[in-house]
């Protein structure tokens, strides 16, 4: 975005575009949510217990949001070392979340909940699966940040700050999205 010379607001256009993209992603999950409720209301809905892994995963993703946030604060605050190792930890926690989701699906499958059975199970796989894809996107962004952190000289510029903020906001977004989905699945199954 080289053409923001006449930018009218204080928000960087890229960041604004990211918010629009998040709105769009949110609409997709709203569609899943409403489809979920409509389907549930039509009956033939098998109830089951959510796998324990989901609780642990929620803790992991919340923690990763926190570490990434502190990493950003350290980046801006000039604490190079803290910024770098917290970034690494955030990335590892993100991977751990995905691995944990995989374990949770395995647990579910062993409980006899599979895609081909009742729609309640199929919805769970679908919603958490599409969410995992969005986590994957966030991990890609953190990975790029990670490479830059260790290959570029440490320097706080507006451009790098903005990039980091966008990565952070997206990561918080998929984190909050997960908490929302988890609560939805927990209380409406």
């Amino acid at each position: 975005m080289t053409l923001n010379s006449n930018n009218r607001s204080r928000i960087h256009p890229q960041k604004f575009a990211l918010w629009l993209a998040m709105g769009s992603i949110l609409m997709m999950f709203m569609a899943f949510t409403s489809a979920y409720f409509v389907k549930q209301a039509t009956g033939s809905w098998v109830e089951y217990r959510l796998p324990n892994m989901f609780y642990l995963n929620s803790a992991i993703i919340l923690l990763s949001s926190l570490t990434l946030h502190i990493s950003y604060k350290s980046f801006v605050g000039g604490q190079e070392g803290k910024y770098k190792w917290l970034l690494v930890i955030s990335f590892v926690l993100g991977i751990a979340f995905l691995a944990g989701q995989y374990l949770a699906w395995s647990q579910l499958f062993e409980m006899g909940i599979d895609l081909k059975g009742n729609a309640s199970g199929a919805f769970l796989y679908l919603i958490t699966g599409v969410h995992a894809l969005h986590i994957f996107g966030g991990l890609a962004a953190i990975f790029v940040a990670l490479i830059r952190a260790f290959t570029w000289d440490y320097k706080v510029t507006d451009k790098r700050k903005n990039r980091f903020e966008m990565t952070l906001q997206y990561w918080h977004f998929v984190d909050i999205l997960w908490i929302y989905l988890f609560i939805l699945l927990l209380f409406t199954k």
Partner: protein, 615 residues
Amino acid sequence: MGHFEATHELDVMIEENGYDDHFHDHHHGDKYQSNFIHHYIFSMDHKIIARQFLITGIFWALIGAAMSIVFRLQLGFPEESLAWLQPLLGKWIVVSEAGIGKLAPEFYYALVTMHGTIIVFFVLTAGLSGTFSNLLIPLQLGARDMASPFLNMLSYWFFFLSSVVMFYSLFLNTGPFAGGWTAYPPLSALPQASSGSGAGMTLWLVSLTFFVVSVLLGGINYVTTVLNLRTKGMSLWRMPLTIWAFFVTAILGILSFPVLVSGFFMLMCDRGLGTSFFLSEIFIEGQALDYIGGSPILYQHLFWFLGHPEVYIIILPAMGLTSEVLSVHARKPIFGYRAMVYSIMAIGFLSFIVWAHHMFMSGVNPFISNFFVVFTLIIAVPSAVKVFNWITTLYGGNIKLNTPMLFAIGFVSMFISGGLTGIFLGNSAIDIQMHDTYFVVAHFHIVMGVAAFFGMFAGVYHWYPKMFGRFMNETLGKLHFWGTMIGAYAIFWPMHYIGMAGVPRRYYSFDTFDSFAHFGDLNKFITIAAIIVFAIQVVFVINFFVSIWKGKKMTTRNPWGATTLEWTTPIDTGHGNWPGKLPIVHRWAYDYNKDERDFVTQITPLAEGETPGDH
């Protein structure tokens, strides 16, 4: 380029009043368009991307229209041999021993399906808003380019990829998808349901998923650009109505297309992973399938939650273009500018809460239907406000009846005729008779098919000089207009009568319905009219492409005497749009016939004691 020598009076005005954003201090302009590939193919310049969208749209429009001619031949002349089409359509024309060629019924459905998909998505969404949002948003707002030229380029190439996949599906051995453009399950969810439901449907889903990515990348860019990159003085209330329309269109796209993708994901799961979202107990060839408890109605909800905003994604840009063209060529300010803006917003908002009027006959609760009837009819209010304002803009104007103006007036005509039948169809009681008949076909073709095409044509003829530096041939343009105007009514007006009598749409043949036998001649008439209208569109396409090289050259910057910023750029508009400083806007976009001046550009400062035109 840092010290730009201003010679043209508009350049002088911009140089004196504009502001320097130091855009040309860096030499990205030269690197940016240095070779053919970067200039014309993987271009990041919004003006080139606009032309890419337009030309791809024209390509698809020809294919989509040609398909309609083939199925109209079947409907108008079911007894005639179509053997002459065999070289083109191959095995889909079944030739009997007596040499009589028949269109294969499966392929008839494929043609109907592809016609809808292509025209709705590829032509009237990408070809219309893709073209003009790209061309006009930066130019009319005084921006150097889109917020993200790179995402803008990706937006086009995702559309291109989607086009390639869909085009490929036309040549599959089993044919393209044939279950209707709405792709309702079970025809879309069971690969074995029909010949097009296998590979054809898979490619349809892949293609449209790419298409949604394109729409989202484009839409995010348009909204960001409108909100962040307007030049100094260009407040929201000084934006031309074109921009307001593109802005609301983009928001509708961002909010509704993801919902369609959700539906697509669920459909993909049903097709490939054995889930039962949309499939309930089904027997095929005496065998029970594994699916249990799914709901095909659920898909319809998800589809129409996009589907209804989608018709406004199609019509709003056409409305914006029409408003602008009417005002310029009537030499009058648009009547009720703010009412127009509020109408656009109201239509945009209401479009999200009327989707189930497409589903009155699917067994939804009649009380819920009432809710949707009421909101559907309320859309008539902002629509009527707009029509009133267009007509009032024309009233007492110094009307120049050139081709863009004719098409803009034609748009208003089509929008009225098509809109009125919408009031019938919006009533759930009348819909019992009208649902899935030719009345519906006539309604939506006039109101969002022909009308949107008219808005697009008005835009193409009006902004052609801006895109190619030349004019299209005016005589051929007028022939194009009158032929299309009369022809389109000749095609769709009779369909209302056929529809009121209950003739259902999408039927291959009415052989077995004696009650519809007397519509045979009317169907012949419609088919002949369709062929003539198609031939006239070929005239347009020839005019379009020949004029790129042979058209009358544009000698002045502002041939129409318009007030908006795009006409203050040089004839050969380079990268960054303005060669020197950026213009500063001092007034709204509709100062025509003001204080004895024919028009006053937006960059002209207010004279001493002058009251703004939009006071």
